[in-house]
Point group: D2
Chain length 274, copies 4
């Protein structure tokens, strides 16, 4: 039996986010009792993720994006799965976990991927390219790799109603000194180029619009997905709660007695010997 320095073990769990000790709770150094009442929920999101409190203008822009993405209805698999979970005898926490878990690379990750591509174009303009040149190069590369541009185009919406108010919010933030507009220019140029010569334009969707917001505010691409999770968690919770209030039990995707058809091998006997 040997002794180990206590900090050897506790240090494995060290953090720069919260300072917890008897009768003390501080977030990034700020006492929680000062934050309650003074900081908004959005301020707390920023403080915990970035380490400092945001300016009012930064907080307002972040809030616009988080408000915009709270819900898009039960045809989204994340919402549908959370609704089904809520009927299976698990807590609302498990229902939210179910929904949030589905916001993967394809369902919730388009914003993250869009941010990564916007950042690539931004590196090109920082190195001297014009916005038009940077976007041209980006789109050529995507086409070459047979990849599509995430964050643009929508199955239902010809023009996503969240696009315009979010772009206005970015412009307001630029006027207030909370953003410099580089990512906005790149995003608008991508939208213009993708729609060029098409009957049906390929407008920015919620992933693209929030990707511009989060990029302007200096968030890392991976946090694009993280912020979407925080926002959509509201809709997931509301839908799970609506289902819970209905009292329905074990809700499947099809209303009973409809059954999923079987398309596999026909009826057969288990062989005697193998």
């Amino acid at each position: 039996m040997t002794d180990v320095p206590e900090d050897r073990v506790t240090g494995w769990w060290a953090t720069g986010i919260s300072d917890i000790a008897p009768d003390i709770i501080r977030m990034r150094g700020y006492p929680i009792e000062q934050l309650i009442g003074n900081a908004s929920f959005i301020d707390m999101v920023w403080l915990l993720l970035r380490g400092e409190l945001p300016s009012r203008a930064q907080s307002a822009l972040l809030e616009a994006a988080l408000v915009a993405a709270v819900d898009h209805g039960p045809q989204a698999p994340s919402i549908a799965a959370a609704r089904m979970a809520a009927t299976c005898g698990v807590g609302l926490n498990s229902a939210v976990a179910t929904g949030v878990g589905l916001l993967g690379d394809v369902h919730g990750g388009a914003g993250q991927q869009c941010m990564a591509l916007l950042a690539e174009a931004r590196e090109r303009t920082a190195a001297g390219a014009t916005t038009a040149e940077a976007v041209e190069e980006l789109l050529v590369e995507l086409r070459r790799d047979r990849r599509y541009m995430p964050g643009f185009g929508h199955r239902f919406h010809r023009r996503d109603p969240r696009r315009d108010p979010l772009m206005s919010a970015v412009e307001k933030a630029i006027a207030d000194g909370a953003a410099d507009g580089d990512f906005l220019q790149i995003g608008l140029e991508i939208e213009r180029r993708l729609s060029e010569g098409r009957d049906r334009p390929v407008p920015m969707n919620i992933d693209g619009a929030t990707a511009i917001v989060y990029s302007e505010l200096g968030f890392a691409p991976e946090l694009g997905r993280g912020l979407f999770v925080l926002s959509r968690a509201v809709g997931i919770l509301a839908h799970a709660w609506e289902e819970r209030e209905s009292g329905r039990r074990i809700k499947g995707p099809l209303p009973p007695p409809l059954l999923a058809p079987y398309l596999g091998p026909p009826d057969r006997d288990v062989p005697e010997a193998r």
Copy 2:
């Protein structure tokens, strides 16, 4: 900076299941290199949950129950949610976690609840009551508390095709000395009583049938749910994989362009002041 005894910290994570050290892996004391090839997968389930290797007869009865419950098709919310997850850009592990997470008190917990009630009746027979008396008291209490008997009755099946082979497996285990039949008698009496005087009988379903099996084998009720999770994980994985192979992206519950109807407040404007 103080020192703490190493076992103070590592002891917090002590276990009686697996003994892991450099070049050593033992399960409940048995070297893994002896188990591979000699123990079946079912033996390992038993060994890890119960501490000892099962007899052949115990293993065979457990296997029958775990085989019976692997799948019940995509109308089950656990399967449907896992299929949707598989189209959202998460790994198969996340898809399985999604499905398994839905096996809660209502969807997967009926077996656990049935086992708890079988155990109550068993306590009565152990205290001298006949099986008929014990079941009578149980059903009276359930009726008084307006509770239904979990594990009996089915939405689709008039007679669940898994019932008879599982009851035969229990009888075989009794003949082989791996079970004593007390829970079987109680379960059959419940089934008889619930169906008495009804046009459509209320047969044992998979939760009831496996509850008898697991109770006969001495598992705690809570493990009834745990074992169901291991079994249904096979179907969940297979359905997630079928969806992945299809290449579908972001599969919701309704085939596009069908949309969920909205039944809430009508279109209205956000008020100027609140």
Copy 3:
């Protein structure tokens, strides 16, 4: 092959929350383009869960509670599990799902249980009992059932620093007409009675304080847990992100090479026959 009315199937997924159609997104009837910029994130939480926009005073009180509970450090299993998940090669959405999933009956459900008990006492005062009588009866019943009062007492804090600012926020809301103070009185009486005659008082903890807030605002007990999930999701995300930025891979609970000790059966051979 039969036809079914479309609404038979789509109706299974009907909702009163969001109205989604081509180029239209409305939440509880309000166009999303009006909500962005005008409604706060907290307003959206209220709107989706309750159906109407809150007053400014209601929104401010809800915000205080959601700010207060964002994080309590990595010794909480929800945070620790999310940090470990973030090192295992899953997206931030999966890390958040992991942490949120742990906010069950014991870890995150104390607020929900406290709200249910506050509501019981409130029914008694509504029926004519004084606050003191209602609380007395509640505590007698809990003692009789050998249950403890959830939401009071803390392992670390003698006086939780979040208690006072949250109680002040409730008082402000009462002054602003957003709450009537009945639940506050009950909560304070419980705190007084639990601490009576003890050297170390049993103060309200975050679950108890937020239970009073949510009860005053008219939320159902089950949503107490749901709101805690939304709040703590911020801390879970921040901790997962801190771990991701560290670049650590497969972080277990103990710093390598520390190993969990084994306390099970000693080394033994797999028997030849069973």
Copy 4:
């Protein structure tokens, strides 16, 4: 209100795995009542994932791999997280979901990645290269891309005790005609090359050994992760159950009263204006 063909909607959920109708449950065409008692649990895994029943020799080799990977103790984050979940007031299903969810690209995905690389080398030998040439090219490419070879080397074990019995099982399967040995040869060559000229060899670990097994049996790489999930779910359940039996509540990573140290900004006041 229009009508839609029923198969339009139910067809969205069609499957080739299970045929469920009143009083009928068939898996890949086989009646469940014939499978119970005749098919082993491993046979069911194969049947659901592959569409046909395996030969005895195929089933035996798959069983060896699934037995080998059931557990590796509580220092694995998947096990630790499941143990913590079990103390938080969620069902065993949620605890298993928590653990399984952590088997991501890094923790559980090494087997999948190893299989993908084995398949690349196998394509080269199929195109005429010798095993030595194919492995040489593979290792050169990995080195060029600064990637490491997944499935080889271990933090604790100099020689993983699961390696030899699994390689023996593959050789037995080759003798029984259930495998042709191509992937075994490639895997052994990789092991030989990685260890060449090193004091401490880089032996195959469980991910590498099972990758060879699953590749020999014809599983797709992604199913390597899926099969690992099924296997490790046993250990996850057993550890969650051990924790549940202990009665511990809200188990964090550190034994109380140890606290995670805080390394962030020092104590500071929230600024008056921002």
